[in-house]
């Protein structure tokens, strides 16, 4: 009887069932879409963070800011003493962005901390090659003034106007060729700058290549410069063989060229023997990260630790806006809509019971126990809930599909470039980002996972049962005598 009655009710009161189901479906669909988008946002953020840090890197350690360090760089480059036109070159391998460095021994100190799985050092450098063609300026115009050689500084000639003699034509064509070089620990490549790239051609460094003249080149840079594996690349006069091409997972590489750490330390113009700019740390487990961060802060002198979440907080651009939207507003919105949908389903079920007072009263008069009537009402509501769940999953998947199909591109930029206070000293990956990759673009996906579907089914069942409880409560309280009195 239960099933027959249930089937008949649902079939012959399709509209009423559909209204309840649709209400639930909207709520559940929204939850699915929002969860999927939020998951997509997390993926996108992970992707961004990984591209900044390298997959598997939980923390980075850099030298604490020290005001006394650093200073303007000066280049000794100019025309020869003899006043002749000349071509001069200067190749500098300077620290990238700043002059704070950690002693290499700090890598071991960090590795010794509890909860640290791996710690590797890296040294970020910038190779700048200046090539200048210098021409002498000539004094022109004026009242027969004697021609005298003037020196053209970089950037062009200068004149003082006012009808006086002018220096003309002096200047320099300076070619600045710059690329970033990162020294990597060839013995531990699972963590560190190279871990966010995969080798798309050739091979990476071998474990014994600690001072080999080998280089791995980022694919984007290789393309620009026409470099292939087997080619040679010159850094500070040394010829490095390109052994591999690395493609960054998200198109944002840490450096243009990677060389063994020891080589980088030796070749640097600043005195960086036994120095590293960043230590990449992998924790034993993600729960340990905060503790590890504190331990390093406390026990390693002069260390400044940045975790992925610190960095995530500094991610700006529409990815972080969208992510906040999805995780905060989206979550609240879906909770509110879900609660509203549940309430609506409950009230609709209750009012449906209200419209069937005489029907249920009659059944009670026929000797149906309250429990039997309640079970019937709950059964209907439950099926409505499941129906709503199915519709909701369809709606939710459709919503997620639309988001994925449109796949809006989100950009994320990290660091003080946009929002650091004036004069802030940039450190660690932020510094690198500021110099090398300030902005990453990722396409937003909204993956619908099985667990989200399971959540939706559970919600649907819960919604149905909640609605059923409303209706059942009403049906249970119904006195047959009252029910029969009612004239419809």
């Amino acid at each position: 009887m239960f099933l027959t009655y249930l089937r008949r009710e649902l079939r012959r009161r399709r509209k009423a069932a559909l209204v309840v189901a649709l209400g639930l479906a909207l709520g559940i669909g929204l939850v699915i879409t929002v969860s999927s988008v939020a998951a997509g946002m997390r993926d996108a953020q992970d992707e961004v963070l990984h591209s900044l840090y390298g997959v598997g890197t939980d923390l980075t350690v850099s030298k604490e800011a020290d005001e006394s360090d650093g200073g303007p760089q000066t280049f000794r480059i100019g025309p020869g003493e003899d006043g002749e036109d000349s071509t001069e070159t200067d190749d500098r391998l300077m620290p990238l962005g700043g002059f704070q460095h950690l002693d290499a021994s700090a890598v071991d100190d960090v590795a010794a901390q509890d909860g640290v799985d791996t710690a590797v050092g890296a040294l970020a450098l910038n190779d700048i090659e200046f090539k200048g063609d210098f021409r002498q300026g000539r004094i022109a115009g004026g009242a027969g003034g004697q021609a005298a050689p003037g020196q053209g500084g970089p950037g062009g000639g200068a004149g003082d106007g006012e009808g006086g003699p002018r220096i003309e034509g002096g200047g320099a064509d300076i070619d600045v060729d710059s690329f970033t070089v990162t020294g990597v620990d060839v013995t531990r490549q699972d963590v560190g700058p190279l871990s966010s790239s995969r080798i798309s051609d050739g091979a990476t460094f071998g474990k014994n290549d600690t001072d080999a003249l080998k280089a791995v080149v980022d694919s984007a840079y290789a393309k620009d410069e026409g470099l292939k594996t087997g080619d040679k690349i010159t850094i500070k006069g040394k010829k490095f063989e390109v052994v591999g091409i690395a493609t960054a997972d998200t198109g944002a590489a840490t450096a243009n060229v990677y060389i063994p750490l020891q080589r980088a330390q030796q070749l640097s113009d600043a005195d960086l023997e036994d120095k590293v700019s960043t230590i990449y740390v992998k924790a034993d487990s993600s729960e340990d990260i905060p503790a590890v961060k504190d331990a390093i802060d406390e026990n390693v002198a002069g260390a400044s630790v940045t975790s992925a979440s610190d960095l995530a907080e500094q991610v700006s651009g529409n990815l972080s806006t969208a992510s906040n939207l999805a995780t905060n507003i989206g979550r609240w919105l879906s909770v509110v809509v879900l609660v509203a949908a549940f309430l609506l389903a409950g009230l609709l079920t209750m009012s449906a019971v209200g419209r069937r007072v005489r029907e249920f009263g009659t059944l009670k008069a026929l000797g149906w126990r309250s429990g039997r009537v309640v079970r019937q009402v709950m059964g209907e509501a439950f099926v409505n809930g499941i129906l709503g769940g199915v519709l909701g999953i369809a709606l939710g998947i459709a919503g997620a599909y639309v988001v994925t199909a449109v796949a809006p591109t989100l950009d994320a930029s990290v660091g003080p470039a946009s929002d650091a206070p004036e004069g802030a000293v940039l450190r660690g990956p932020q510094k690198m980002l500021d110099e090398a990759t300030t902005s990453v673009e990722v396409a937003l996906q909204a993956p619908v996972t099985l667990s989200v579907i399971a959540l939706a089914v559970a919600l649907a069942a819960a919604g149905g049962l909640i609605a059923g409880c409303f209706g059942g409560w009403r049906a249970a309280r119904l006195r047959p005598a009252d029910a029969l009195r009612r004239v419809e």
């Binding site: 009887m1 079939r11 009659t362 009670k364 008069a365 309250s370 039997r372 047959p480 005598a481």
Partner: protein, 227 residues
Amino acid sequence: MYQLTGVTKRYQRGKEAIDALAGVDLTIADGDQLVVRGPTGGGKSTLLQLLGGLDRATSGTVSLDGTDLGGLSEAALTRVRAATIGFVFQSFNLIPTLSAQENVETALAPLGVKAAERARRAAEALESVGLAERLTHLPGELSGGQQQRVAIARALVKQPKVLLADEPTGNLDEDTRDDIVGLLEGLWKELGLTYVLVTHDSSIAKRAPRLAVIRKGRLKVTEREAA
């Protein structure tokens, strides 16, 4: 056998109290027929509800075969309704989404009758009220008289001891009315039921062997010698 002593049913509406029944004494022997008449609001339906175990008296006792219905638990009262009492209502009260046969089956569901047996007995009951051809019709697809026949089949399919009918012809036209009254009377005689019929129909009242009139909650029984 019904035995009512000093039955009062008081409805409290705010400060106002209405005695729908006031000190009713009544005995109905097994297999007897009682016709109940009276002005509207007199308390006829209230009496029927107390007889049928749908409600409890405010004071006094309603006993059926020696059991005080007012003293039973809700569950026990529900069992009495399921097994012993058949109701027929003025507005048929069929379940609109169920077919004629399924409607009749609803009376057997609380008795734990198996599905196949239920269907068979329901079909038989419908046959006995002349609706053998209408088993799969929905109430909306039946005339008023046919709907009331389904309701009668539903009341009688469980072979109750008591049949309570509250103005069963109130919603029917004159010709159909006679059909239904005739059908009920035939079944009463055939099945040996205790039969209480509430009606406004004076022609029925005139023929009734035993007539009760309720006015303002007070009941007066007129016995008539069978002609």
